[in-house]
């Protein structure tokens, strides 16, 4: 078997690099995007259960009380498995929200009553690259007196950090 000539090596390397230049960034972009399903699903579930909760309650106390950022420390660049009791806050239980697998995001829930109605903001914070800068996803919902629950689309801040 003869060795490759310099020209053959150069051509082969350029072809491989060209293919790599297309597929490697695409692979990492897809990997990153797949991790976004955690905050999106989580916030959608929180909003759905908040809507059901609001159905049973008067408008001024339509949503469960506020719940702090859980887990308190946003995972930095790696997924965490929560110790038992992390999601015991009555609000998370009322909203039936508890990640059962290792996860990358922390969630918070803030509700308030105002002018006979009430509103909530659910947030997901993540630090996928572990650089201390957080991405934030949030969804808002509200109930006005005499009207049903309504919710916003998901807002994002620094979603790619």
């Amino acid at each position: 078997m003869r060795a490759l000539t310099l020209m053959e090596t150069v051509v082969s390397a350029s072809i491989l690099c060209s293919i790599g230049a297309v597929f490697v960034p695409a692979f990492f972009a897809n990997l990153h995007a797949s991790r976004l399903s955690e905050p999106l699903d989580g916030l959608a579930r929180i909003a759905a259960h908040s809507a059901a909760f609001a159905e049973l309650k008067p408008a001024k106390e339509a949503y469960p009380e506020s719940a702090p950022l859980t887990p308190t420390d946003v995972p930095r660049g790696e997924s965490v498995l929560d110790p038992p009791g992390t999601w015991e806050h009555p609000t998370w239980r009322a909203l039936e929200f508890q990640p059962t697998m290792a996860h990358y995001f922390s969630f918070s829930y803030t509700s308030k009553s105002q002018g006979g109605g009430s509103s909530f903001v659910a947030k997901a914070h993540g630090d996928l690259d572990g650089d201390g800068l957080f991405s934030t996803f949030k969804i808002r919902g509200s109930v006005a007196p005499g009207a049903g629950h309504s919710q916003s689309y998901i807002e994002m801040d620094r979603e790619v950090e």
Binding site: L40, Y153, I154, V160
Partner: protein
Amino acid sequence: MSARALTALVALLACGVLVATVRPGLARDFAKVKAGADAYALPGPDQAVLMSLGYRAALADFIYAHLRVGHGLHFEEKRRFEHVKDYLDVITTLDPKFVEPYLYADTFLTIQPVPARFEDYVAAREVLLKGTRELPFNQQVWFVAGQFIAYIAPPNIADPELKQSWRLEGAKILARACELATNNPNIPYQCLAAATLLNKAGEREALIQMLTRTLAVSDDEELHQQVLAVLGEWVGEQSREREQRRVQQFQKTWAADLRFISKEQLLLLGHGFDVVKCAGRALQPLPNEECAITWREWSHAIERR
């Protein structure tokens, strides 16, 4: 160094200079180009079934993974994911019993980086209803479908009549979710929410049916108390007492007969009876509760008391 090696080296350097000269301009142009629309490359659902060459579940899995990643990518690019319904149609045709697409259909369609349109809610409802048809005993699918159609979608519907019909349809689906055996700890309040919707819609018969069926199939003591309270308040004290009596009587029968099996198993087995004592019961059109063979007969006998 030979002449050929020198030529190759010169060619390499020339390429390097060419790339360095052309790249900045191209990079600038490339940065300006943003994906503005999605291209949908899959054939229709029926053709996709043929295309799978029999590996229907595998292809459905693959497309579902693509859909999940695509949803995240569109969030990063802050633009609408256009062909979600088409992907879901293909996936659910390839593998109609695949649960995940039904559970997340409403998220994919209506939770987007831009406000969802009315047609997105209609599409999500369509997929969820297909889920309830394909998976008639999957409590999670019924629960998600009911919750979406009853609470989440209606505020986005302008037509009051359509809004009301969706709420009622959702309440009935939630009522069915309540009847399905479940370990979902949140189901009690979902059942009550469904009851609230049925009551508001004046669907008294459906309300009674849902509450009595929930009482019949659920083991949850807390849920029993809440359902009985709702029955008393909305249907009448008499109805509450009758149902309470029935529940107590069932508990007694269960304890006396096969206490070690679950309630679902007992309901499946039917009412136990003493063969000798009940001989000739075929001659009695209305057997008493001791000789009832089915739970329906037993229930009628209790009511006649």
